[in-house]
């Protein structure tokens, strides 16, 4: 006990100094940070959304959606390929039933040629070398394309990857600080935006697929047919909630329209005649050319602007629009127009995203939680410190110094790991303090016991530390087990609690056992006490 080697003292002090240095930035009041010397570590402990206010939103994409989209794209590609084949391959009875694409080749002798033409349209997927579609010929002239598991997985993965990018762009447009956007699992995205005022607007923005289409209105459809949901051949019925002509839907031609995804810009503006909020879009060269052709060929016919499967408005094409810009109107308010502009600028989501979980905390509640949490923590800590001194005297003081150092160390390690402090995390802090105290109680009670059994001072302390350490070690390992499982299975704030607990258990055992031991050793060496008050 007396020969506590110098190198040990030095390394313990160094670690403690480092921990304190790392903790300082997190303890500085907001304004003081700029005066803090820049050569020292700057990292701060992050505050969780429950403490600083903000929104946590979990988005989920529907795999079925991706599969359907993929099937539709395949149909269009196959149609194109059959048309482009020389000689042209006639096909018919195209069906997308049961998630498969199947069609008849009109001329049986062309089945092999059709197969050959389709084969390059499929690619390898995944690591197994499986292709993304299976091609079979049934009943001599029917070709069936079935999506493979690997193909679907890859498609979902790509869709989610793109969706994450789109979500990031949209949130960046909002100009919030430090949003976190992470893909989670197969089809989920976690979005965390600190200090947000209006979570509703964010949810709306993220929920909007923003798929814009321009399609020609089918004027041959009778209002009765539309009301009954019967579309003429080659047309489809699309809902139109704000139809000025009455009714809630109109018929549009399925083909011959264009998609509004080839945009270089989208801005909220006002219509020059009606002064209504509108969204002005600018096409890129390819999109502009297509749009020009569409309007040129259909002057004086109405065309529908469709957003996410719903008609916004269906104005007449008065003259060809050649400049590559267009105006989208449709009963907007300034806010909704602005939102659509953002959504269009950041691109369409390749998959519809639903909000499956939302947790928002207003900044006021967060501030209140921090204040009360810190107050409770401070009161609890001071009471515990006083209690320790009353009970163990000098050894209580040592334990208390170790305890304060422990708190600083936890903060320092958290800052170093860029960890997040949540409200349950503050509770975790208090509990860690409890654990640190327990370790010292175990040691001190053991020393008392050994003294009572007649051991000499130094020996009693020596035995006290070694015997108590065993139980401390075992008890804290089990706590680490609990904390790790908490981290693995917990979510959000609970994880924050687990992080504090894991860090805290390690640092508290270290400070409670080694740091106090160092103090005691130094004291014993200096004073050589004849009496031990404990």
């Amino acid at each position: 006990m007396l020969d506590f080697p110098r190198w040990k003292t030095i390394s313990i002090s160094l670690i403690l100094a480092l921990g304190v240095l790392l903790a300082i930035p997190s303890l500085l009041p907001a304004g003081a940070a700029q005066y803090y010397p820049s050569f020292l570590p700057q990292a701060q402990v992050n505050l969780g959304l429950d403490l600083q206010g903000g929104s946590h939103i979990l988005l989920e994409g529907d795999p079925v959606d991706v599969a359907a989209q993929r099937l539709q794209n395949m149909e269009e590609t196959v149609r194109g390929a059959m048309r482009a084949a020389t000689p042209r391959i006639g096909i018919g009875d195209i069906s997308r039933e049961g998630g498969r694409l199947s069609f008849l080749v009109r001329d049986v002798s062309q089945v092999d040629a059709a197969r050959e033409a389709i084969l390059p349209l499929t690619t390898g997927a995944g690591l197994t070398g499986q292709r993304d579609w299976d091609i079979e010929v049934r009943d001599t002239s029917r070709i069936v394309l079935t999506p493979t598991e690997a193909g679907l997985t890859e498609a979902l993965d790509q869709a989610m990857e793109t969706a994450t990018e789109v979500v990031r762009k949209r949130i960046d447009e909002l100009g919030t600080r430090e949003p976190t956007i992470i893909r989670q699992g197969d089809n989920r995205i976690v979005v965390q935006v600190p200090g947000l005022d209006d979570p509703e607007a964010l949810k709306e923005l993220l929920g909007q697929t923003a798929e814009l289409e321009f399609k020609l209105v089918d004027l041959n459809a009778s209002p009765e047919d539309i009301a009954a949901g019967r579309a003429p051949v080659g047309s489809e019925i699309v809902p139109y909630p704000t139809n000025p002509a009455g009714g809630t839907a109109i018929a549009v031609r399925r083909l011959g329209g264009i998609r509004g995804d080839k945009l270089t810009n989208a801005q909220q503006s006002f219509d020059q005649q009606t002064n209504e909020p509108v969204v002005s879009i600018t096409f890129d060269r390819e999109g502009g050319a297509r749009f020009a052709r569409l309007t040129q060929e259909n002057v004086n016919k109405p065309f529908a602007m469709i957003l996410d499967g719903e008609v916004l408005s269906a104005p007449n094409i008065n003259e060809p629009i050649l400049g590559g810009t267009a105006q989208i109107s449709g009963s907007f308010t300034t806010e909704t127009a602005n939102q659509l502009a953002i959504a269009l600028r950041s691109g369409a989501l390749p998959i519809e995203l639903k909000v499956v979980e939302e947790r928002s905390v207003g900044p006021d509640l967060g501030a209140e939680s921090i204040q009360l949490g810190l107050l409770a923590g401070a009161v609890g800590t001071i009471a515990v410190l006083a209690f320790m001194i009353l009970t163990y005297g000098r050894f209580g003081v040592y334990a208390n110094i170790a305890l304060v150092l422990n708190i600083l160390l936890i903060l320092g390690v958290m800052a170093l790991m860029n960890a997040t402090l949540t409200l349950p995390g503050i509770a975790g802090f208090v509990l860690t303090i409890g654990a640190a105290v327990d370790a010292n109680v175990l040691i001190n009670e053991r020393i008392r016991e050994e003294r009572k059994n007649g051991r000499r001072i130094i020996q009693a302390i020596e035995v006290g530390y070694t015997e108590a350490s065993r139980a401390i070690f075992d008890a804290n390992i089990t706590n680490v087990i609990a904390a790790v499982l908490l981290f693995l299975f917990g979510s959000g704030p609970v994880r924050g609690f687990a992080v504090v607990l894991m860090i805290g258990i390690v640092t508290s055992v270290w400070t409670a056992v080694y740091v106090t031991r160092m103090f005691v050793a130094i004291w014993l060496k200096r004073e050589r006490p004849r009496e031990l008050v404990i």
């Binding site: 979990l58 499956v356 509640l365 107050l375 209690f387």
Partner: protein, 329 residues
């Protein structure tokens, strides 16, 4: 300076004299807890049943207009709502359960209720402080991962104790934990405090700290088993409990001080959490003495438990060591 001593020297309570009575009481409370959970059910938060919870503070009034709010929400015709006060008298939480896989429905309900509150209660200074909305699918996942984490934690800990001690100790610790967890569930069924994700965290912490106690006692039991080979097992367990009594009381008290501060001053959001922890503190200490120890007796732990599977040579060596050990003061 005269130092505080909570437990006088040489205490000698015969704790285990009451082991049968205590065990009966323990079993009865376990059964009562299970029945309570079965009959009254847990007041599951939106984390586990799906739905939404909105926290509102009414800045301009002393007390939240709970009755009016209830009828106004009823008028929206969106389903059952539970309105509870939390923290200050002008703070309430509005909870609505929406079962099933229904992400869009939950969102729509959340928007409508928040909108209604902010417009109709503008005069009372209504401020939306927090929104939790969880779809049925996610809540189902949260529930299953919560259950897994509890079960895995208990099993992992029991296995660790089995390695460090003997299998009987692992079993005894597992039973003690089962007792603690069941009683906490019973407490939540009785008080109808909201059972949410934070409470799972509290339960895992209770497990951790109950084990702290159990292990401290076990450690002393192991030590004494090696020291006093001939002592009667029950006397030995009593001795070990008495020897660690000062530490148990001291630690429980300091933890209690810290928890009381959180409970009385801390934010209302974590009230349930700290309440569970406080209960766990007492239940955990009790179960270490009256659940874990009697089970050790019944599973036949004795001096032989720590000298297993030895060859003759080992045994001879052990005997030699024992002789040396016994000579120590």
């Amino acid at each position: 300076m005269k130092l505080l001593k909570l437990v006088p020297d040489n205490t000698n309570f015969r704790f285990l004299r009451w082991r049968k009575l205590a065990m009966t009481i323990s079993l009865l409370t376990i059964i009562a807890s299970i029945v309570l959970v079965g009959v009254r059910g847990l007041n599951l938060g939106v984390d586990f049943v799906g739905g939404q919870m909105i926290q509102v503070t009414f800045d301009e009034v002393e007390e939240a207009p709970v009755a009016q709010l209830r009828s106004d929400i009823q008028a929206l015709n969106l389903g059952e709502s539970t309105i509870q006060r939390f923290g200050q008298p002008n703070q309430v939480s509005v909870r609505m359960r929406l079962d099933g896989d229904n992400a869009e429905e939950v969102n729509a309900v959340t928007s409508r209720v928040t909108q209604m509150i902010t417009t109709q209660y503008a005069e009372q200074g209504a401020r939306i402080d927090g929104v939790d909305s969880v779809s049925g699918k996610v809540s189902g996942e949260l529930l299953s991962t919560g259950v897994y984490s509890l079960v895995f934690a208990m099993i992992a800990i029991a296995i660790y104790i089995w390695f460090r001690f003997e299998w009987q100790f692992g079993v005894a610790a597992l039973f003690a934990l089962f007792h603690d967890v069941t009683l906490t569930f019973g407490f939540f069924a009785l008080t109808q405090l909201e059972f949410n994700l934070n409470i799972v965290a509290a339960l895992l912490t209770i497990i951790g700290y109950s084990l702290n106690d159990t292990i401290v006692v076990f450690d002393r039991v192991r030590e004494n088993l090696r020291k006093y080979r001939k002592m009667d097992m029950i006397a030995l367990l009593d001795l070990s409990t008495n020897e660690t009594l000062a530490r148990t009381i001291m630690t429980t008290l300091t933890m209690l001080i810290a928890l009381m501060a959180l409970l009385l001053i801390g934010p209302g959001v974590i009230f349930g959490f700290t309440a569970a922890m406080t209960l766990g503190l007492f239940v955990g200490s009790y179960s270490s003495v009256y659940m874990a120890n009697p089970i050790l007796v019944w599973l036949g732990v004795g001096a032989h438990s720590f000298v297993p599977h030895m060859s003759d040579a080992d045994r001879a060596e052990a005997k030699l060591k024992e002789g040396i050990g016994g000579a120590k003061p």
